[in-house]
Symmetry: C3
Subunit: 212 residues, 3 copies
């Protein structure tokens, strides 16, 4: 299991880094000062897991562990220093981000299964873990959360998470295989969606403040 | 008590449905994709109760119960299918929404009383249960929460909740009577407010970003 | 210790009042109705401490104590009555606000130390206690949180909190002295920053919705 745990840890760190990067770059685009950039990076990275842990009433994962905070801090510094080279690493960041989304989703589902919750609730927790960080980032930057509207993001989360639950419950495949194939599916969905401009069908709507 | 519990359950389901409807229609107006619509419906329905349960440090009500999630899921699907007929059911939805607001407020107060908190804190929890879902919906849609500004919404919550607490503490009326009359009062306040364009007095203010 | 506790209590009340004032005035500027003003005042005052207590999984501080709710309620009423004289008290409010920020930061750090967390996590909790109320206020008013962008606010928090932790851990100075000097440092940083228009360096960025 050592290799498996190291694999998980490596992907979680990569996911945390890419979520922090995405927050830091978005905050710099909006002209935040360095501490603002650090805060947005922090919220984007740990937001989803924090809400999940509060809902589960288990200790919040980053409170008793300095690794995450250190990783985010260093990532934010690096992002500020290498701001100008963002464009060169855009594809790399996108891939990190997709792997992070996949792993974060699985971590959320796994935590729900450990608490013996119904698979549907576990899927909800997985989606929350994957998506809330990006939603909080967009709220703090005062824009409509893009992942609810533009990219195949929550959709990739839900499709991948459903497959994961089906494989865990109804097959005898090894856990590592199930996990890796789920992550690859989520990465594939997102990559193809962005490459070929896939979008979920949207509803015709008027962009105004009229209310029910 | 069976009839009483069934009555509560029926109203809670109707309230959940109408809050989910209100979220789903608002998200479709903003051109969200189907999963975005589902998420906004979910947050609008369970947001208030979730924050209340986190504050009380009790298990979050929808985590161990599939009924709410299923109801919201079906409601969101139905809302997407029958999007075009929204206008026909506007009055029905409004009445559901008002009943839901009344019952959610009472549930929040009751949970506070069960935890032996002071009536003022219970009233705060009732208002949170009734209003936070709509506030989160508006934050996610990137607009100023309307219920803080336009409709007699929080006001109906607070007036109804105060009456409920007075009747529970200082009279010997049956609980069902107290509950039904509170809900009817809240529905009446909201209906009359909308019909006759009642508004709370507002403060003169400049609509700019100048800050204290 | 009696004088020390009274001193703490007095500053905490002054901080609560000034945070509630800041919320109430901002809500009146945006033309909220009286209950909206009350809610924004409440959220601005208790938001930071509430998130801190949820993260620590300890009872939320205002749930078992009527003093805070009463203070906020009276403050909101007073703010509504004396709205027109806001300008005269602007400097007084600013000083209250800075003292409140200092004390809230220290309370957050102290609660983290009591839970035997790492100093870096304690500093994070202190910053959350000081800053989240103002961030929630700005989210509810649908504007980009100013404290992340304009004022030396989070910066004062982090610098003051770091000094506090250094003095607590590595010196034998009396706790009262450490506390008072931290608060004065935070007040001094903010006052000088506003007086001389200090700003942290910002990042060049385009104000658009383009996303990674």
């Amino acid at each position: 299991m050592d290799i498996h745990q190291n694999f998980n840890f490596a992907i979680e760190i990569l996911g945390t880094i890419s979520f922090a990067m995405s927050g830091a770059f978005a905050a710099m685009q909006r002209r935040f000062d360095p501490f603002g950039v650090l805060m947005i990076a922090f919220v984007t990275s740990v937001g989803g897991g924090t809400v999940r842990d509060l809902l589960l009433d288990v200790p919040v994962f980053w409170m008793h562990d300095l690794v995450m905070c250190s990783v985010i801090f260093i990532t934010a510094i690096v992002a500020m220093i290498f701001k100008s080279v963002e464009r060169k690493f855009r594809v790399t960041l996108f891939i990190f981000d997709s792997f992070g989304l996949g792993l974060f989703t699985i971590i959320g589902i796994q935590k729900g299964l450990n608490a013996e919750l119904h698979p549907i609730i576990c899927l909800t927790l997985g989606t929350i873990t994957g998506c809330v960080g990006g939603i909080l980032r967009d709220i703090l930057l005062n824009r409509i959360p893009l992942i609810l509207r533009k990219e195949i993001y929550a959709t990739a989360c839900i499709v991948g998470g459903s497959l994961f639950l089906l494989m865990v419950n109804y097959t005898h495949l090894s856990y590592v295989f199930v996990q890796v194939s789920t992550i690859l599916l989520i990465v594939a969905i997102r990559t193809l969606a962005v490459k070929y401009h896939w979008q979920m069908p949207k509803f015709y709507g008027v962009e105004e403040n009229s209310e029910m």
